[in-house]
Amino acid sequence: MAKNHKRDLVTAEAVIGVAELGIIIFGFLYDVNDLRNAALVSKRFYNAAQPYLWAAITIPCLCMHPRWRDQHAFWDRFSSFLKRNTLSLCVDMQKMAPNLYKRFTAGNRRWESHARNSTRSVLKRGVDELFSGLRETLLRAERLRSFSARDVPRVLDLLILLQRHRAEIQCVNITASKHDTFGLLLLPAHDAPHWRQKVWLNPGLTVPLANSINLGLDIGVAPYGLQWDPNHAMRSLCLQYKRAGGKPLGLRTLTLGYGFEIADNDLNRAITPAGVPHYLAYLTNLKALEGLHLESLHDKNKSHLRRLSDRLGFSLISSVSAPYARCLTGLRKAT
């Protein structure tokens, strides 16, 4: 009798089926395809493999997937897995939302103002929905310790999202999109010290904005409810970027939209080789800058623009500090 029992017990299925054993054994499987295949062997194998399948995931898509017959969004459909098992989350725009990715990068070597562009508004809605989905996912992934993102626009928004909802995270690795035409947003200064202490100084955190070629900044693409100080936004962004240890980017074009104007007073400071650098130099290497676009200056009166143009032209754009800058869109339109 005992012998028969033994024969029944000691099989691969039985061993994997012992919860503790199965979980330990599958802990040795590192390849997600191996784990997936193992999960499809039998119910016992599935139970053992499941925690590992959900431990480190790349989000397939946030809303609809051909394999999901119901209409539930990713975070709702897999809420229990996210809650229980997910330690590491990867967001790759090209895999998760390839169409949106293509549209916000297609042909746009230069940031364009969204305000007068309906396509831009549709795209903005798409990106806002993406952020809303990421927020819901982050809220559910209570055990999240590691987050990585590739080609997600508005990378500082992404950091703010992580900071707000998963401040306990230990490792963040974000690769900025080369053609992030949506632009960055400010890190809120009041939370920054806490965030930096927890994450920013962690060697696991990398925000290689240096990949960026074009950068557009505009309050119009900010999500609702963002606290904003339009008078000092640009200066604040540059100084915070510097304080956070960011090295000057190698942007080819920088577009400053509504809310990110260079404050007039700042333009009075001439930039000379011996002088104090303009705060923009903290954000990007002005010597590499080919185009600075000031999108919202059309709202200002013409004389004011001329004044700005002169000052910019002599102090910032035409000076030795930005020798290759050729384009000054906003001013050209008005003058």
Partner: protein
């Protein structure tokens, strides 16, 4: 105080004849369970044959004998408080490869070994056995794994499809997501 004997006794309680095995003090150090017993009951009658330690899981005498032999032959037992990490990829040394080739000739024996090493807390051998199981599974399809291990499929087609849907990120090359 008289020196303690150098052997303790283990009985396979679930085998029909209840065979008893002798284990040296040194070999017992490989097992976290036996090591703890020795520490807790050093001064008591632990070393007498009539006080043998029962094994209460279904494993064969041969498996128990093989494991204890491995422990006798493996000189470097982990220090107290030191355990090999679980879930780390394990590389098998030449003598361990030899052990698996000679003693673990069937899947059934391998799974017995897993059960027994887990029961006795012989972590290094347990990890090696896990790695051997994993090596068997790696790179194989679900169907190949089933065939190799003699497992029957107990999913309905709907259940299988549900699992595939759950793990959709692993299928990203097959079907792109629908985004707008």
């Amino acid at each position: 105080m008289a020196a303690q004997p150098d052997f303790l006794w283990i009985k396979n309680d679930m085998s029909p004849d209840g065979r008893v095995f002798r284990v040296s003090r040194q070999a017992a150090q490989h097992s976290t369970i036996l090591r703890a017993l020795i520490e807790d009951f050093e001064g008591i009658d632990l070393w007498k044959k009539e006080q043998c330690i029962p094994i209460k899981i279904h494993v064969s005498d041969q498996c128990l004998s093989d494991v204890l032999q491995w422990a006798e032959n493996t000189k470097t037992a982990p220090e107290k408080g030191e355990n090999a990490d679980n879930n780390k990829q394990v590389e098998l040394a030449a003598e361990d490869m030899h052990f698996f080739r000679e003693a673990i000739t069937t899947s059934e024996k391998l799974y017995e070994l897993l059960m027994l090493t887990d029961y006795l807390g012989i972590v290094p051998l347990y990890n090696m056995a896990c790695q051997v199981v994993v090596n068997m599974i790696m790179g194989k399809s679900a169907e190949q794994i089933r065939r190799m291990l003699g497992i029957s499929k107990d999913f309905t087609p709907e259940q299988e499809e549900a699992i595939r849907a759950e793990t959709a990120w692993a299928y990203d090359e097959e079907q792109p997501p629908l985004d707008r």
